[in-house]
Amino acid sequence: MTTFELAKFIPWFPAVGVILCLICCTKPALRKLAGPICVLSILTSFIVTCLAYKSVPGVVGTTVDENTKFAVLNLFDWIHVGNFKANFSYFFDPLTIIMLFVVTGIGTLIATYAMGYMHGERGYARFFAAVALFIFSMTNLVMGDNLLVLYLGWEGVGLCSYLLIGYYYDQPIAVEAAKKAFIVNRIGDLGFALGIFLTYLTFGSIEFNVIIPAAQELLANGSHAATALSEPVKAAIAQAQSVNPAYLTWIPFLLMLGAFGKSAQIPLFVWLPDAMAGPTPVSALVHAATMVTSGVYMVARLTPIFQLSEYALPAVALVGGITCIFAGTIALTNNDLKGVFAYSTVSQLGYMFIGVAVISVGGIFHLTTHAFFKALLFLTAGSVMHALAGNLDIRTMSGMRKKMPVTCWLMFFGCLALAGFPFTAGYYSKDLLLGDAILSGIKTSDPIAAKMFYIAGILGIITAFMTAFYTFRLWFKVFMGPYKYEMGTDAGHEPVDDMEVITDAVAKQHEQEHDHTHHHGPHEMPLWPMNLPLVPLALGSIILGALVVSGLGILDSKWFESMLENSTQFAASHIDHSEFAHHTHTTVAIISIILAVLGISLAAIFHWWKREWVAPLCKPITPIINILVNKYYIDELYELLIRRPLHTLGRVLFVFDDYVLANLVNFAGFVPRLVGYAVRPTQNGVLQNYGVGMVIGLAVVIIIAFYAWLGF
């Protein structure tokens, strides 16, 4: 078995981890092993990903043949029915390997942090079983070579998201949030499932190695040499040309709905901010770095199919742009430490959608850099929350840098990257995609599509300013200024070993420690396992962009670009290297540098230097602020427009059920009872009476037979 062959087991190391963690759940003595097992299983996947990197066709340094732009590794044959074929096999191209690096690499770091964060929590082993299951599903999602395996992973991560949001299942908020996430995602997934059905109807296949080349060929209008195509691809093209052309329009719009649900875009974004009810490492891993980007990945993977419809990609860009500014404005006034980052995640996902919609390298690039800095931000936010016993209200915090210097500066790096400060990772990726969006707005020939791209790009640039402001508003409020804090009510960070026998002495000791901590107040997190895993994330947030874009001697410069250019995402389009493109990129970059610095400076003025200016300045715009604080009343709107009518309908149906259907059913049950009531006296238990009955019956039969014999 070659190293590359080993790659098909990448999802299965975490799968083994799940089983081991579940075994750990059963025995109290084994529980504390679950964390290391989970981390090791994800780390193994990461190492295998690194080993496989060089063998993936299309990665930098390999020669690319026109016909072998990807590799497919078959794990086992799965479903073959008629001409429907879905194997459990994995698809490798540079896009896959980038996603695998993000999922397993960031996953390892976050799981390591979680070992410290979740220490002493009840359900420690259950948590790590769910995390390993999540990595298993997510790797299946990014590696699947057909839509069905992708969908399987898609639903798997949805399930893990539900389990992890509802981790504190004794808290009503967490349970509500888990249900909300699950139900909102179902709406998107319905669209996704219909999209898959329609893909099969159109192409006669759901395998990427068939539908992507077929879509490319349809786009190129047969300009490629027809001989280079394999038989299944030719069949798919023939079928796609024979079906109703409207199918080709419907497929991307249905798939888009699934992407918007999973990646929290308007109108299906409402679940993501609530998902912060889960433990913070989960917010970092599932709801910031990896799972929520799977919609972006799906659009990127199926770009040629989206291109088949003229307005599919512009629609994605426009929705991304609107979500971007919408969530960005909500984050401006949010006072919840994790809430700000949650809305900023929604907003950044909007950027990624703009990026993949204009077929820019920036889309997936931003996905990668965002995974680094958003994971870092959430984990440092988790440290603050941990230190303050669950308090999340940033209005009650100030000057925390004195007590938590390491966390303070780690978060600073994350904030720089999120704000798009020049030469950090976020700056490179965001400006790349915004530049490409503006460029598409100018270059696209269709006027409506061009306008949609252009608006999305402008909205993105405006949001860049807000992002810088709200990010540093939070950081200055929490870490700068006079030292002040309030403790939360959650004593969850006190180690409570459920395997420990609670004797009087132990209980007393716990009590003392508890008081001790409260007296002690906020404190820095331990280096291992909590602060150390954050260092690579911080490094990535700062230098990843420069490393990838300018090389810095370690990687080839334009590494990312070359990688993605060889992936199926760019199958039918090419990166514009013209002078004009370069000029546009530079202009956008200069504008966003100005905006970022302006945003950071304003945040510094209002939330650090002159905090007393905020109240009088806010007074005249109170109504606007109220709308933002209430998140545009979106939840209330959904309540009014969707939940209320459904609830009313439910009540009407309930009444119908209770009075009409129930009575009908009861009547059906009443008739046999009535009959039974009539004949019950005959069943009196007296033996001879039964005998008489039998004789009478016999007599009747004989008489009938006799008359029948006689003939009348």
């Binding site: 006296p681 005959t682 009196n684 238990g685 007296v686 001879q688 004789v695």
Partner: protein
Amino acid sequence: MNTLAQTGLQYPVLAHFLTTGAILFALGLVGFLSRRNLIIVFLCTELMFQGVVVTLVALSKYHMNITGQTFVIFVLTIAACEAALALALVVLLYRRKRTLDSQSLQELSG
């Protein structure tokens, strides 16, 4: 043959045997419906049984077909087993109820 002729009857024909069977059956039936002692009731069922058996043998002879008589041999064998079983049940019932009155067994009334 002579003895039969002396009683005024000719050859016993099929009807005689069938009548005998029917009488046995009717006696058993009446006993079954009217008596209350479980053992008597049971004996009456046996009587009905024998009536049927006589009919079977008579018809078998009439049709010159041995199957009916073979069948009777088997039926009698099974009947013996069944009798043993039924009597055992009656004994058990008696132990429990201390009576053999069939009217006292009314637990299954609807």
